[in-house]
Symmetry: C2
Subunit: 420 residues, 2 copies
């Protein structure tokens, strides 16, 4: 058996994972909740989620892990280390969107499993324990809030609040945990560091032909519900000047949201994703439009300026079109800057492995964003086809998934050597 700490960082071999084994594990997991269109529907805390959890626990136990289940159902699998140190964490989630794909979440957990299997293959004992965590309900499709398990872990929500949340059928998180046997009593371990590999869920790496995204930040998010109240009227008899057209106001607002994103720096994004028109009839001027605004930015100050610009646009449009615009903020995630030392370690690993790489911002939320509130954390992105995710056609190349796992393994070993 080799002691990782004894290998000199310059002379040691570069370990590589078994890409075929990783792929096979991903595909085996994707059969649980597989959809005819090639995707996965495995909502949080359903029987299917329970089945996936049990299978992955079996695989993790085969790597010599002890298993702890905490009260929100997070699974912590720990491979022992040689010293009395906090574990190095790897993790992600097994739950999917209603029409989800095979890689979102699952990849991070399977990459963690593959790292443990590689360590076993090479009889490597690390100084730190290595911990693979499966976080409960990252997607938030069945229960809100999203990123529930990591949020409880980080203290963003209380356990009691989350256990009491209900799905549309009135089933609580607490009851759902009991039903699938994951109402744990164990204490979640504190971590020395946390790495989360994930498909990019965006188009940048593929478009630039780059294999590894070293995630420096996660964009802050501020979400709004907007209600525009004008006056229904007949499309024919009502002169233009006498209209109070809520959909026309909405159109100006949608264009303004895009403009605000374009005019601000720091990876600014602005999206109107949801819009509902009342009465939604071909020859009636719409009296009411409800829509959502999603603003994102890597810097909190810039994000605040975007929100100010949004409020100013709403006021200007309301005055010009003679109608009411109400803006309610419903979600605020501050931007997350991942740990610079861990980010550097990921970058160094990619370089050492000879993979093309770039710094990148995560536009989406991830469990790592909450974990980063408690421990040093970093993420590793790999390309996904067309940038498409949360979709049954979500796809990724086996060699990219293997490359990301190699980088993960290299970064874990670097951290374990005390390179931080």
């Amino acid at each position: 058996m080799t002691n990782a700490a004894s290998i000199d960082s310059a002379s040691r071999d570069i370990l590589r994972c078994d890409g075929a084994r990783l792929w096979d594990s991903l595909m085996a997991l994707a059969r649980i909740g597989a959809t005819p269109a090639g995707g996965v529907r495995r909502l949080a805390l359903t029987e299917l989620d329970g089945e996936a959890r049990r299978i992955v626990i079996d695989w993790l136990r085969d790597c010599g892990c002890s298993i702890r289940i905490d009260p929100i159902g997070n699974i912590h699998a720990t491979r022992p280390g040689t010293e009395d140190l906090a574990p190095i964490g790897i993790g992600s989630h097994l739950d999917t969107q209603p029409n989800g794909g095979r890689f979102d979440g699952a990849y991070g957990v399977m990459a963690g499993l593959e790292v443990l299997r590689c360590l076993d293959d090479h009889d490597i004992r690390t100084r730190h324990p290595v911990n693979v965590t499966i976080w409960t309900n990252e997607e938030g499709s069945r229960f809100t809030p999203v990123m529930m398990g990591s949020g409880v872990y980080a203290g963003a929500f209380t356990l009691e609040h989350c256990l009491a949340q209900h799905d549309r059928d009135g089933r609580s998180v607490g009851d759902a945990l009991v039903a699938i046997g994951f109402d744990g009593r164990d204490t979640a371990p504190a971590l020395a560091a946390y790495f989360e590999p994930h498909i990019e869920q965006g188009p940048i790496l593929e478009a630039e032909g780059i294999t590894i995204g070293t995630v420096e930040t996660a964009l802050g998010q501020r979400w709004f519900d907007v209600l525009i109240t004008g006056q229904d009227a007949h499309a024919g008899p009502t002169p233009l000047a006498m209209r109070r057209d809520a959909l026309l106001a909405a159109a100006h607002l949608i264009a303004a949201v895009r403009r605000i994103a374009e005019e601000h720096p720091d990876e600014a994004r602005g999206t109107v994703g949801q819009l509902d028109v009342t009465p939604n009839s071909r020859n009636v001027i719409p009296g009411r439009v409800a829509l959502t605004v999603d603003l994102r930015n890597a810097r909190d100050e810039t994000l605040s300026r975007m929100v100010e610009a949004l409020r100013a646009e709403c006021a200007a449009i309301a005055a010009r079109e003679q109608l009411g615009i109400e803006l309610e903020e419903v979600v605020y995630f501050p931007p997350c800057r991942f740990d610079p030392a861990l980010v550097g370690m990921v970058e160094q690993a990619a370089r050492r492995l000879g993979h093309s790489h770039r710094r990148i911002a995560s536009g989406a939320g991830h469990d790592a964003v909450y974990v980063a509130r408690r421990h040093p954390a970093a993420m590793i992105f790999v390309p996904c086809e067309g940038g498409i995710s949360h979709n049954e056609i979500e796809n990724a190349e086996p060699e990219h998934l293997a490359a990301g796992t190699d980088v993960l393994l290299e970064a874990v070993l670097a951290f374990d050597r005390g390179a931080v």
Copy 2:
């Protein structure tokens, strides 16, 4: 009994209708299909429509009318004249929108009835017969096309086509006519002239404090279904420059439709009333938007120029936003210019009665638009509260309704005297 033709137009008395009786008849009719919110739900060819038809036929028979039912279910009630002349027509409809009001359609029929009652009150025999027509399915809420009965009368649609149309439950127009006993076999009469009183369904008369709208034209209408196809993508990870946002394209199109209406003369109107977003999720860039465009104008050439501008805008937006925009024309009503002599007669009647009046365009379609394809026709508008129609809160002032009926009576008598 007085012979109307024998009265000299300068010296004769001005007849006035019984405004209270008119109001009482309207309110009695509004009880058939009354909604708790004060409106009326009396869809075409339902049992309620049949009940309303039978009651109004009784009232018309009490005025000495003979009743003919034609094969599309239009009811023609004829009060005899003293000479062998084509009848002077008055008409409108009894069917309502699903959440309709008490006046749309019903007012025109009750005004016609009140004219007949006035003639009886004063023992006036007209040279021409006077004919009150109740047109089948003007609203088009249960069966399309709209203005079905007057459309068949004018040859815009074939009888066979209309009888075969189905409602959402698969019931055909032909079966619905049989079910309520209005599958007639009579021939519809040719008319010497046709007058249709109607609430304005727009805000102009009320805003300007004017009692009578002398309707010169009905706007032409061209309706389009638009399908915008971009690409669903995650709102967070997708940079602005890589988006193909169907809702952003829709926003530009909605603003363009308004701009096109503003930049064209001849009572131009442009409306997007219906819009549906897919997948319509807060944090997903919409990949697909279906929307409708409704363009109207008093002149066909200007309307064509508006359509050209719309097509150009769609092409420009599609190119700029890198997505597909398909435009399908689904309805084309050419503009209708009402008969100048009859329009002048309505105007002269308003002047003689001392009512404020103005020339106005009808923005909406009406049975008179189809009748005008076959016979000289004109319309008389009265104000409605807030310009609101197709709504349970639709409202009108009794004195305005009476004034419109007085103008109708005066115009009918003027025509009958041969003033045309």
